[in-house]
Amino acid sequence: MSARVAILTGAAGGVGRAVAERFARDGWSLVLVDTADVVHQVAAEVDASAEGRVVGAVADITKAENLDPIENALREIGQPLKFLGLIAGVLQEVGPITTLDMNEWDRVMNVNLRANVLMIQRFVPPLKESGGGAIVTVSSWFGRSGHGLFAAYCASKAGLISLTQSAAAELADDNIRVNSVAPGNVATRMHFAALQEEADNRGVSFESMKKTEWDKIPLRRAAEPAEIAAAIAFLAGPDGAYLTGATIDVNGGVLFT
């Protein structure tokens, strides 16, 4: 496979890191983006096992003027950009709409929605320059329908699925395919923190909260981050070449769409 670069946001997170490892194994060079400095360490660790180059870039992607380090890293690698993995996301503070702090609403929308528009605006031109490629957003099963106490998160992820479809329609002629992966529960920090918060709210133990939630999943477990990465790799590769505007639900059967 010839040299090619993927930009991955949220690369210091549970899913992002698994995607980085998978893509490195598949021979990609990577720009790993996160607000957390630890992304440089992730880049160093992933690099060790890769044929391509892996470079970290610290950026808060909610502001256009913050994206320069990503572009610099891309230039430093000097290979064609063929993939944009929009993985970064935040969970909201759990709570009812009636008392939802609008700063919290804005924070969630900025990361889960606005940042992805900014990333598309900035990195579609280099994708076009390299003759096209693929974009995958990471939405959520919470974007497939609304859930009480998660209004901002659900709306942001539903919006992201819609954004994915609009981008697919606009970019098909440029040979850029745009799809989404909607995970169910994934065994990452985000999921375990959400379980802990819910357990505290209900005054039950973490283990019993976990059992309550996992019993709702036909496959009776959360996904390994690598299983989300597998679907993203499929969409990025030749086997996914006829897919655009699609959302793949990797959720253990917790929701049928």
Partner: protein, 262 residues
């Protein structure tokens, strides 16, 4: 055939079209494959061609998916020849367009019998064989974008494919405790003999102005700008039969080049 296989697969409606392409992909991936089809002439020829080209073997078994005994026989042949049934692809199906107000009971029953009942029986018999052998298998059903939205001239077909989606979901719940996953893929417009016939039927009905028009007018509604070749859907089905999709069950993967955006 002494080549080691990853196990066995049964593909219904695999004599030609999408099913044949899937069977070819399974052979290339190291599965022994049973071509389960109504049409022995084409089916035998397909089995021979795939065996010659591939590392493993394809055998033909005559099956009418509406006849449980024949599906059972195909699955038995798969277990005997390849050791187990690991992948079941319920793909046989057909369409016969009729204007909505003129749909006959005969057409309705014929389409639902093959496209829906045939899938139920295929899932049931595959599930029983997998459970008996302790196989955490993959069952994959061919739905359609017509199962997601109704088309006026294909009402019975749309219903039959919506039923495939419901069966996929019910079976996913029923078989998850056994470690068996059940998913579907929903093609858009694929250039196969099915569509050639459909195009002729639509022209004869007066639903299109010229031969070939029904199909080509649909191409303009596809973001990727062309109808699919059967090869275009195989990558998606392969993802579903591979361990890469182990955390997916009860899902429908729309593989339509960007038509319905769901």
């Amino acid at each position: 055939m002494s080549a080691k296989t990853k196990g066995g697969a049964v593909v219904t409606g695999a004599a030609r079209g999408i099913g044949r392409q899937i069977a070819e992909g399974l052979v290339a991936d190291g599965y022994g494959v049973v071509i389960a089809d109504l049409d022995p002439t084409t089916g035998e020829a397909t089995a021979r061609a795939l065996t010659e080209a591939g590392a493993t073997e394809a055998i033909f078994v005559k099956v009418d998916v509406t006849d449980r005994a024949t599906i059972k026989a195909a699955i038995e042949a798969c277990r005997l020849r390849f050791g187990s049934l690991n992948v079941m692809i319920n793909n046989a199906g057909f369409n016969k367009p009729e204007p909505f107000l003129e749909i006959t009971e005969k057409t309705w029953r014929a389409i639902l019998e093959v496209n829906s009942l045939g899938v139920l029986v295929g899932i049931q018999e595959a599930g029983k064989a997998m459970i008996a052998d302790g196989i955490k298998g993959k069952i994959i059903n061919t739905a359609s974008i017509a199962g997601r939205t109704g088309f006026p001239d294909f009402a019975a077909y749309s219903v039959s494919k919506a039923a495939v989606i419901s069966l996929t979901q019910a079976a996913a719940r029923a078989l998850a405790p056994k470690g068996i996953t059940v998913n579907a893929f929903a093609p858009g417009v694929v250039a196969t003999p099915l569509w050639e016939q459909l195009d002729k039927d639509l022209y004869a009905m007066g639903a299109s102005a010229a031969p070939g028009e029904a199909m080509s007018s649909l191409a303009s509604q596809i973001l990727l700008g062309r109808v699919a070749d059967p090869k275009d859907v195989v990558g998606t089905v392969k993802f579903l039969w591979s361990e890469q999709s182990d955390y997916m069950t009860g899902q429908v993967l729309v593989i339509d080049g960007g038509m319905v955006l769901q």
